[in-house]
Structures are given as C-alpha cells and as structure tokens.
Amino acid sequence: MQADRGGRIFLVVLLATAVLAPVFNLLVPEASALHLSGYTVTLLAKYMTYAMLAIAVDLIWGYCGILSLGHGAFFALGGYAMGMYLMRQIGTRGVYGDPVLPDFMVFLNWKELPWFWYGFNHFAFAALMIVLVPGLLALVFGFLAFRSRVSGVYLSIITQALTYALMLAFFRNDMGFGGNNGFTDFKDILGFGLQAPRTRTVLFLCTVVALGGSYLLCRYIVASRAGRVIAAVRDAESRARFIGYRVESYKLWVFVFSAILAGIAGALYVPQIGIINPGEFSPANSIEIVIWVAIGGRGTLYGAVVGAVLVNYAKTYFTAALPSAWLYALGALFVLVPLFLPRGVVGAVHQLSSKQVRPTPRQVPQE
C-alpha cells in the first residue's frame, strides 16, 4: 500500500516535470524570473537517467539481493553504443572532414573503419546494440556467476572487477573507442541538431518516458508472481530452490533486464550530456549508484529515484560551492545513512508518517 502511494507521488511529480520544465524553458521569455535555462533542463534530464540507473540497481539489489558494484559498466556500454551512432553522424563536419572515419581514427592514422563500427550509421542498428550489448554481457556474465552459485560479497567483487577491466580496455587507443578522450563533439541525432532547444526538449521528454516506463515495468515485475519469487530468492535462496524454483534463471533474468535498463539510461545520457569516456566505467561510479539506492531506501523503486536525485543535486551543489568537500560528504553519507536511516530517506519518511497515524506498531501478535 505504502509503496503504491510513494510510487503514485513519484509519477505525479514526474508528469509535472515533463509538462512544466519544457513550458518554463521554451515558452517563458528568457528575461522572466520564471525562465528555466537549457542548462537546468539538461541537468534534470541527467538526474533522470541516473534515477533510471538507480531503479535498475534497486530491482536487483533491493528485490533480488544481488549487490552489483559494476552496474555503471552497463550504463557506459549503452552510452558508448549511442556515442558510436552520434560519432558516425558527424560525417564530414569533423575536424579532419573524413566522411566515414571519426576524428580520433584519422588522428591514429587508421585507414578504414573497424568491423565493429559497421552499422552504427543507422539509428535502428544503434538502438538494437544499446539493448543487446549490455544485455548479452549481463547474460554471459550472469550465467557463469549464478550457475557457479557465486553470490553475496564475491559477486559484488567480480562485478567490480568487470567494470574495472572494461575501463582499462576502453582507455586503450587501439580498442577503437577513442581511448581516454572517448566520444564528444556530437552534432546531431536523426538529423536534428543536438544544440537546438526543440531537440533537447524531445530528448528530455524521451527521458521522462523512459524513466516512467522503467518504473512501471519494474513495479509490474515486483508485483507479479515472478516478483514474489525474486523476493523469496533474496530472503531464503536455498528454500526457494527446494520448493522447485530454478533460482539461477530467475536471478539471470532479473540481472539481464536490469542491465538493459541501465544501458538505455546510458544511451539517453550521452546525447544530452554530450560526452562519453572510459571514466564512466570507473568502479567509483558504480559504487555511487549503490549509495544513491541505499540513501533513497532500497526495495521500493521510487526510493531509488529519490536517492539518485537527492545525492546528485547535492553533488551538483557541492562540487560548485565546495569542490574538495564532495567526496567527504559522500563518504559521510555512506557511513551515516545505514546507521541512522537503515531504510533510507523513504523509509524514514514512511516511519514518521505512520507514527502519526497509528500509535500502535503493527508487529504486535494477534494472540
């Protein structure tokens, strides 16, 4: 019940944002105090892609008990797939003006396009890869890990190793993904200029739809019978196995789905932020996602959104006002939140409101 109420509030706020942000950005004149700058709209979009990523992590961590410390890798892979499409769209407008090769390849003296860049000039192909690449990696990785019954902290460590390995690989120039510079200087998407306010509004709305859609899909999953099985796996894995569930396939399925969501979030992030580089694979990024979810309150889905937005807003503020303090603040949050708000911000709010409504706790046995 409570979960539904929080979720409804989230959807209403999301809808309001979807309507108000473009209105105040496009229709209110710039001179007005109510005008919302393009920068702010982009910032909101960025928070929303992060919120989507947080929902993906909450689905596997909060509901299935899989603590992935490498989910940033799926986000980055989705982002890279989108980035490859955007790079191919630049065409002759690049610094070197090569119609086929992106600038960094010309710079490296490459003569032809590597095979894995084929097809990325088509948006549909790129869209397919945005889903397929993170999904397949999660499928193979999850299949091996879950089949060997790797779980708990060991799984967390190997997910961390996975994203670290990918970061090192993507840093290499000869991988063909732009080395440490990654991709940037994008010009347009599907023929629409990326700097145009209208394009940005459409991308913003796409992000809103993706976030709302991911929330509703995840909500559907956790409320289904499969969702109850997933939670049962989290609480008593061997019991679920004895009852006759193939625990591995449930875990694998959720893990792959979550990775795909993360990939789509990454793909929405890149055209709006305008850059993707191997830093997105850094293990610290993936840990930060888990902190968002923990702070927001895991196992609620909307809590993950609250956490992602709160922490990133704080990050935006701190890194502008007190750049050196941010990491300390983040570290302090990571220590203090589990101590004082074990169920996150959402859990604390829930507790406060239920205390006012019902003075007697529900846990009192009936007999």
């Binding site: 999953i221 289904s224 019978r225 109850r228 939670a231 008593a236 009852i243 006759g244 846990q363 007999e367």
Partner: protein, 282 residues
C-alpha cells in the same frame, strides 16, 4: 567390501526394478511422479557418504512404504541429516543407489527436479519467507512449472485459491492468512512450512525435528497434523523427542554411525539392548 557387494545384490533382487531407460525419458518420468506400484515409495540401498574420511553414512539401506509414517531417531552424528541431504539431492553419495518409486533415480536429479518429482523437505529451523504473507508463502510453494516467463503474468486461478484455502485449513492458519510470515509464532511457522510442503502434494515428506522449541499444545497439534497426513502421503520424521515419537510413530528406525541399528515398533526399539546402549540408555 564384500558386505557392500552382497548388500547391493540383495537390494537389487529385493526391489526388482526394471533397468533404467535412456535419460531422454527422465523429464517425463519426473513429471509423471513415482511409480510406487510395489508398495515401496523410497529405496535407499547401500548408501555411503564420507566427508574428509569421516563416514556420515555407512552402507545405509532403508525402505519406506507408501503412506507410511516413519520416525528416524538416533544420536547426534548418526547420519540423519545426511540421509535427508542424499534424498533431496543436496549431497551426492560416494556409493549406493537411491530410487523414488520404481522409476525415478534420485541420484541422477538435482534439487529442484527432486522437489518437482514429489519429495518435500521441511528443515529443522523454520525457513519460511518472512517478508511474504502466509498466503503468499503457500502460493510460492504451489506445485507446477515455475518458469520466469509464466510467472511474470500468472494470476492465481480460482482452483489454486481453493487449494490454498484448503491447506490453510489443514495447518490451522486460516486466520493468519494475510499476516507476514515473520510475525508468526514459532509453532505457526513450522505449520506454515508443513503447509508449504503439502501444497505441492508430495508423495514423500521429509520432516526434520518438527517439535523442537514448541509449546506442549503446539506439539500435540503437530502430532495430530502429521498423523492425519499419513496414508495420503508417506512421511519421514526425524526427531529427538521420544514422547513425541511415541505419540505418532507406527514404525521407528534407529540410526547409529551411519547405518541402521534397529527397526520396528516403538516398544520393540525401546526394548532393544543395543539401542538402549547407544541412545536411550543415557
């Protein structure tokens, strides 16, 4: 060595099973459930399990009849839990054979397959899903193909609902239907877990120390419950509490050092001098 070989031969001739057909039919046979036409639901023959040189089970041979309520007793380390582990596929024996009815080779199946074939196990510690309601616990436990895709859009059918209500009635938890399982008393949790096994309509139920930590009323209720199950299901109960065993058992098997020490009615077993020495005479 010779004993082991002899045991195997005598076991074979006793049970007179047809030879195993190709593994292709395995899935069908699991689906069909055990063929217990010869009146025996479980054959354990010559099972040996060693852990780092310690023999937890030593050429254990045991037969359980259809509809029987069998109590297994024995001191700590006698191999009771290991025996359960072998039956449910958690532990693979070094030697020996385990058959469920005439046709299902338990040693060829993994844990979920064995559960699906119709063997339910109740653990010593009550392990229900604490964050789910009593109703959801039973729903989770319900028999049927449990694939992700089906479960994603599956709705509880009226027939399933009725089945759940019926089991709730049997284990006397109808009133706690919507309570979180974590909020149940210890005894209620144990019954819920038994209910979770019953709803799968198993041919064979393994129950590990069901009354440990229960109040006398709960013990009495559990005894009623288990005896009411016999006949419809075959039940194996592992228990330390002799009073409780006396109140339910028709047939008792005493395990000692991984093998069968004695078998018979509770009075016969209690009169057995070897049994008195190793177990009861404490």
């Amino acid at each position: 060595m010779i004993r082991a070989v002899m045991g195997r031969f005598s076991g074979r001739s006793h049970s007179a099973r047809p030879p195993r057909v190709g593994a292709l039919l395995e899935a069908d046979r699991i689906e069909a459930g055990p063929d217990s036409s010869r009146g025996i639901i479980l054959y354990l023959e010559d099972i040996t399990v060693s852990f780092d040189g310690f023999r937890a089970l030593n050429a254990l041979t045991l037969y359980i009849e259809v509809g029987e309520l069998r109590c297994i007793i024995g001191p700590n380390g006698a191999g009771k839990t290991t025996m359960m582990d072998v039956i449910t596929g958690k532990t693979r024996p070094d030697t020996g054979s385990a058959w469920f009815g005439q046709t299902i080779d338990l040693l060829a199946l993994n844990e979920p397959e064995i559960a699906q074939a119709g063997i339910g196990r109740k653990f010593q510690k009550p392990t229900v899903f604490e964050h789910h309601t009593v109703f959801e616990n039973l729903e989770l436990a319900m028999a049927g193909a449990k694939t992700v895709w089906k479960w994603l859009y599956a709705r509880t059918t009226p027939a399933e609902l009725e089945h759940i209500e019926q089991v709730l009635e049997t284990v006397r938890l109808t009133e706690r239907r919507d309570a979180r399982a974590g909020a149940l008393s210890h005894g209620q949790k144990q019954w819920l877990e038994i209910g979770m096994l019953l709803i799968q309509e198993p041919q064979l139920l393994l129950v590990d120390e069901p009354v440990a930590g229960m109040t006398p009323q709960e013990v009495e209720r559990t005894a009623e419950l288990l005896t009411s199950l016999a006949g419809r299901h075959s039940v194996i109960v592992v228990e330390h509490d002799m009073e409780f065993v006396r109140s339910i058992a028709r047939r008792v098997t005493v395990l000692h050092e991984g093998g069968v020490l004695a078998e018979g009615s509770i009075d016969e077993v209690q009169a057995n001098t070897r049994v008195r020495e190793v177990y009861l005479g404490v």
